[in-house]
Amino acid sequence: MSKEIVLPELGATGLLRYSWRQLTSMRTALILLLMLGVAAIPGSLIPQRDQNPMKVREYFSNSPSLAQWMDRVSLFDVYGSPWFSAIYILLFISLIGCVLPRSVEHFHAARALPPKTPKNLDRMEFYSTWNAQGDEIEKAYALLKAKRFRILRENNAISAEKGFTRETGNLFFHLSLILILIGVGFGSLFGMRGDAIVNVGERFINVPTTYDSLKFGKLLSEKALPPFVITVDNFVAKYNTLTNAPEDYTLNVSVIDKPGAPSVKKTVKVNSPLRFGSTNVYLQANGYSPIVTVRDRVGNVALQGPVPFLPQDGNLRSIGAIKVPDADPQIGFVATFLPTQARDSVQGGISVFPEALDPKMLFSIWRGDLGLNTGIPQSVYRIDTSKMERIGLESLKPGESFSYEGGSITFEGYVPWVNLQVVRDPGKNYALLGGIVAILGLLASLFTRRRRIWIRISDSGKVEVAGLAKNAAPGLEVELEKLVTLLKGEK
């Protein structure tokens, strides 16, 4: 005698159906929703590669083994990680599995007439009765029709229903979330994003080689870049004299949409990018490029022009590297540009205002091997001085020169540079549409009430009015009181 419980055989299809039911159940959806919220947390506390690559590098240099372990579980790329993706993909499958059948059901229900008037109206939540005058059904029909109820007329009764907008809004809300996801996906597959530092007076030609950094979506070809040319005419930054905070950035450019088109003057501001179809050009950052001339021992120019420096603080103290690979031996200048110079007893040379009111460039001169041919990518703002020796230290104001053993450097002046960010996102309009539909759907579903109202004249000559609100939505009592008053003809 075996006491084993015999479970019915599920089979493969049964198991699939079971899993599908589980996945599309409301409880699972709710758990996935909460998991999505929790899973988003680490990305806001741990630096992410996309937003803050410098901080991530700091993690790696401070505690390499911990950082490697964290990297293995994608803690530096949370929002692109397999586990985060798994949660939202499951959530969306669950959502589709829930919403699509409901949409079909709702589509049929919305075209059907309300069910027949039940027998015992006095059991309803709201009920009132009085002696009939005879025309109540006609009056009620007219009143409810005017309020756009859907009505089923019976011999001596009316069954009316209203509030399907609630479910319609609800479904549209959920469907619009899918649309947003499609927009995001489409944008990342067919989009691109790149940055280029352009000195004032220079041109930006929209081809891959002019970018400092460039990322293409998986399905976008590099040839898809629109062939525009932007000339940076001038850039004006205004700062508050009390707080040193920026107040306004204005960038004036001349734009040629495509080869052969006329040049058009345009203004770019932080909140108003240049728009070329689904490609936008943003003004994202700015700084200074000191203009230098480096000469060799006999006075031939070895390097001349503006060199972009990287701002380090709000007063635009900027660091940079002037590399002269053609000199023999190679020469490098590790430099700091101070737009409005001052001296601090602890930090040394500092800048006290972001505008170039009293500019100065401090630098050390290095001779040896710049290491440019090692194949290891190098920062343009730094010099690897491990194979070099320092041969001088100097600070110059615009127009001044300094001679060192083997050559000279002249600090001619400076120009501002701007960082143009070029972004193509063909999916954003879908996401926007999804967002708008989501809000409208939400409003419809949260602020409409679905309810049924019945009116009947019984055989004994009594009028019965009853109502039922779905989800115990408030307000039906008031609505019914008004209806009863109107039907009784009371003033």
């Binding site: 409301m26 409880r27 709710l30 909460l34 806001s44 937003q51 905070a245 107040e247 996102d425 989501a438």
Partner: protein, 304 residues
């Protein structure tokens, strides 16, 4: 000229704080003095002393409390407006300004709800919360009135930030009510309510009220997030970038969405719903406090 307006703003806000303090004392008086010990002759049955509630004695205090709340609201409103005039912009440029506007929205939400529901019992908690917010703003977060950084110069500042602040005010009110629910519920589990708590609404009413507030303001919060995305598209070159503030706004949105689903679809009520409501509200607070102060994202502007 603008300096004068900045002073007017500061003095209005100090006065509002004084008036809110008076309101707080009036509420406290009402709550405490309505409890009436019986006349010694009435009941001497053992040690049991039956206390009763008598609001006729404290009616005046209650009226004063609400009147002070309204006066405080008006002064605070004047302070926020004057701050805006002094800086020639909407007064939502830094955390000090968010805090005073947030306190205004919170008081407004309370006074608005008071017209419809008998919420005077909540006044004590509201006045404490408003005083704490304003106190922190004035003592810790104050910054001189100054123009905006370029990224904030946009019409979306008005739209996005006002929607976020109003949502925040209502979320916090819902949170206070959910907290009151949990407190009273555990009190009722031990026996009948303490006398002072008897005037508070029934658990069912509190439960419904916090749900209504959330359901009412959830679309507005959704709008605030989407308006922020539209703004970010024109200011930062992407509509969504998982910036810490964006991430936490998303987490708050997800948490309240879960709360609404739990109530409407699964039928959660009572304790579980109240805890979920508190959790969702705390994500909002975390976003406001932690991310503003310690965050490194794009929502941090010079000096908070």
């Amino acid at each position: 000229m603008s300096q004068t307006w900045a002073y007017i703003s500061n003095y209005s806000i100090y006065s509002a704080m004084a008036v809110f303090t008076l309101s707080f004392f009036a509420h406290a008086y009402e709550t405490a003095w309505a409890v009436r010990a019986p006349q010694s002759a009435d009941s001497t049955d053992g040690n049991l002393i039956t206390k009763t509630l008598d609001y006729t004695r404290t009616e005046k205090a209650a009226r004063i409390a609400t009147a002070m709340m309204i006066l405080g609201f008006i002064l605070l409103f004047a302070g926020v407006i004057a701050r805006g005039i002094s800086a020639h912009r909407v007064p939502w440029g830094n955390m000090y300004e968010f805090s005073i506007t947030g306190a205004l929205a919170f008081t407004g939400a309370y006074l608005g709800a008071l017209r419809k529901y008998d919420l005077r019992w909540l006044g004590l908690l509201v006045s404490i919360a408003v005083l704490l917010t304003l106190g922190t703003a004035v003592a810790v977060l104050y910054r001189p009135s100054a123009p905006l950084v370029p990224a904030l110069k946009s019409t979306w500042l008005v739209i996005h930030v006002s929607a976020a602040i109003i949502s925040g005010g209502v979320f916090l009110l819902a949170n206070v009510i959910a907290g009151a629910y949990l407190y009273l519920d555990s009190m009722e589990r031990k026996g009948p309510r303490a006398v002072w708590a008897q005037r508070l609404p029934s658990l069912e009413v509190l439960d419904q009220l916090s749900y209504r507030l959330v359901a009412f303001v959830f679309p507005l919060w959704t709008f605030a997030v989407i308006a922020g995305a539209i703004w970010a598209e024109s200011a930062w070159g992407r509509y969504w970038g998982w910036d810490p503030k964006e991430t936490w706004a998303f987490i708050t949105w997800v948490a309240y969405a879960a709360y609404l689903h739990a109530r409407v679809t699964i039928g959660w009520r009572g304790r579980r719903a109240a805890w979920l409501c508190l959790f969702a509200g705390s994500t909002f607070l975390f976003n406001y406090i932690y991310v503003n102060i310690y965050g490194t994202g794009k929502h941090t502007y010079s000096g908070l």
